[in-house]
């Protein structure tokens, strides 16, 4: 990762989130963390662990089940000079907050002519696997990408989790901070000190000349596995993580896609009007037909997420389906590649075990 300091050590995504919040709370009295169950022993799967002990119940507290009002409270507190972090254990529950997020948070800076600011972070987690099912598995960030005034970030690794969270907290705008349940245990080298991974810069995670793969959130991991799988074919995949979806660093993607001539966006969400649609559309518009770029999207199957294991597996892109798609795009006339089952199995392993 770009700005590794000497202090970096292996840290999990969940611990990186926790550390980032704790350090910012230390630095800035106006930061507080609230939301359903942030202060219980499960501590949002560990991501808020220890904050209550350290900062007390005025700055770390659970709330009634009232997501709509709590979002309004967060906005009001932010306008009054605080920097709330409002936490939701599932992104699906943001549907209860839409009125406040879309009609208020996104708009007040603009509609009041710059008179107020909403330095608010809305953390939420995308659920996956173990039969989470229809209402605990959605990744609805494209709805927020649609509305001017919001920022959206979806860190895919522990380093970015910490750096983006700090950047989000310091941002004077409402930031929709998108986490993924399956990323929580994954480790990366993360500096001990405070640092920011600021808006508007994509990360090239792996270089390659044959195809540009833009991967979002958890799909970064999946795409890197797919890249691995493909190494035996000689196909070199460039994997780009946009990190911030709004503002979006389309330049990095465009440059890469111009070079490789192929763009595959692998989203961790439905494709229709999704982040993948936006990225493909921007590239198609800006590169123009002259650039001759082939584009493709994959994401969630266009249906409600089923809990039954076999269906659930088929619902998501995985390293094999991604690798197969890449292979098709790069070598359209070749026979479909046969990936050795044991390697596929290893690439597709996820360690998550329920209930949640």
């Amino acid at each position: 990762m770009s700005t590794l300091s000497n202090s970096a050590r292996l840290l999990s995504y969940v611990d990186a989130l926790r550390e980032g919040a704790a350090q910012e709370m230390d630095r800035d009295q106006s930061v507080f963390v609230f939301g359903l169950d942030v202060d219980d022993h499960k501590a949002i799967q560990g991501s808020t662990r220890g904050l209550l002990d350290r900062f007390g119940p005025e700055r770390v507290f659970s709330t009634p089940l009232s997501e709509d009002a709590m979002t309004g409270v967060a906005i009001g507190a932010a306008m009054a000079g605080m920097r709330p972090i409002h936490v939701h254990i599932r992104m699906d529950f943001l549907m209860l907050c839409m009125n406040q997020l879309v009609n208020i948070a996104a708009k007040v800076h603009s509609m009041y002519g710059g008179n107020v600011r909403v330095p608010l972070v809305v953390r939420s987690m995308i659920g996956k696997s173990w039969g989470q099912g229809a209402q605990h598995s959605q990744a609805l960030y494209s709805m927020f990408m649609h509305v001017p005034g919001l920022k959206v970030v979806a860190p895919s690794n522990a380093f970015d989790a910490k750096g983006c969270l700090i950047a989000a907290i310091r941002d004077d705008n409402p930031v929709i901070f998108v986490e993924h349940r399956l990323l929580y245990p994954l480790e990366a080298l993360v500096p001990k000190e405070l640092f920011v991974v600021g808006p508007g810069k994509a990360r090239v995670c792996a270089h390659g000349d044959d195809i540009t793969v833009v991967a979002i959130s958890n799909m970064v991991t999946e795409c890197l596995h797919a890249r691995e799988l493909l190494s035996e074919t000689g196909i070199m995949t460039e994997v780009i993580d946009p990190v911030w979806l709004v503002p979006l660093d389309i330049e990095t993607i465009l440059q890469s896609a111009r070079r490789t001539g192929r763009l595959l966006v692998v989203d961790n969400a439905w494709t229709s009007c999704g982040a993948s649609a936006e990225i493909v559309a921007q590239v198609a518009e800006q590169a123009g037909p002259g650039a001759g770029i082939e584009v493709r999207r994959i994401g969630f199957a266009a249906t409600t997420c089923p809990p039954s294991p076999a269906l659930e597996a088929a619902f998501y892109p995985n390293p094999l389906t991604i690798a197969t798609t890449i292979h098709q795009m790069v070598r359209p006339s070749a026979a479909p590649w046969y990936f050795e089952p044991e390697r596929v199995r290893l690439a597709c392993i996820t360690s998550f075990r329920g209930p949640f």
């Binding site: 359903l36 219980d40 499960k42 507290f61 089940l65 039969g131 199957a301 039954s308 076999a310 269906l311």
Partner: protein
Amino acid sequence: MTPDSLATDDVEHLYWSIRRIRRVEEEIARLYPTDVIRSPVHLSIGQEAISVGVIDALADDDVIACSYRSHAAYLAKGGSLKAMMAEMYGKDTGCCRGKGGSMHLISTDAGVLGSSAVVGTHIPMAAGYALAFKLQDKERVGGVRVAAVFFGDGATEEGVFSETINFAALHVLPVLFVCENNGYAIHTPLAKRWATGELVERVKTYGIPAHHVADGDIFRIRALTAEAVASMRRGGGPFFIECLTYRWREHVGPAEDFAAGYRGREEMLPWVLSDQVPRLGAMLDAGTRERIDREIEREITEAVHFAEESPFPEIKELLTHVHAI
């Protein structure tokens, strides 16, 4: 409350119903660590008397709506145990064909509308059914069908609860609101969520008859429901019951969780002592009780077997049911 007016048959039925639910969930808890059920389970163990008591006073074609903690109500209302077990296992024979999971049980045959995992969402859904019944059942022999909705203490904090209560009262809808107040939303106690405990008083301000049952007495719950249903059949409006209760296991998953620190085992004790399962059992003679117990065990074994043997849905099922056609 003593069940003076109850026939032995009634007690037998109640015992069968509550004991069956208890045993099914214990069996789920036993199976869970083997990973055959890969879906988050929210057990009702300790809370069953509410579902059983309410539903015993409903008619077959009345309907119920539930949260994710719906096993008890689903079974009490007559949802198929096999279809439920198969659903837990993610099988094609499940009540949702493997597309719902533990949190989304449904039985249109038995009048189980469907359970929802987003807290409170099913409350207005029940009112919508009640609105439909009011329009559809004008000429119905036996009066208007009724919708009963079960929800937790936490659900009453969602705005949609207050909105629905007002609407149901305003439109005189045949909907019975049943709050299963187990004192916790996940691990967060009422004290961190409710400004006061005056829920029943609050509901009364909407002009809705509202009752508080503090001791989990299944006969009291049943009697209150019977009163509510009788009134609603004749065009009466909504009715509200808050039942205190206690969740014996963890919020989600099969185990106890008193070691977690957010609540002590002593809280559970009075509820164990007043547990309605042995209470009802003791009202039957030993022979009857044992016969019922045996039947239940056999049914459970069969249901588990059914779930195990059933096929998973085929992959092509992934894209069916996106739109109704």
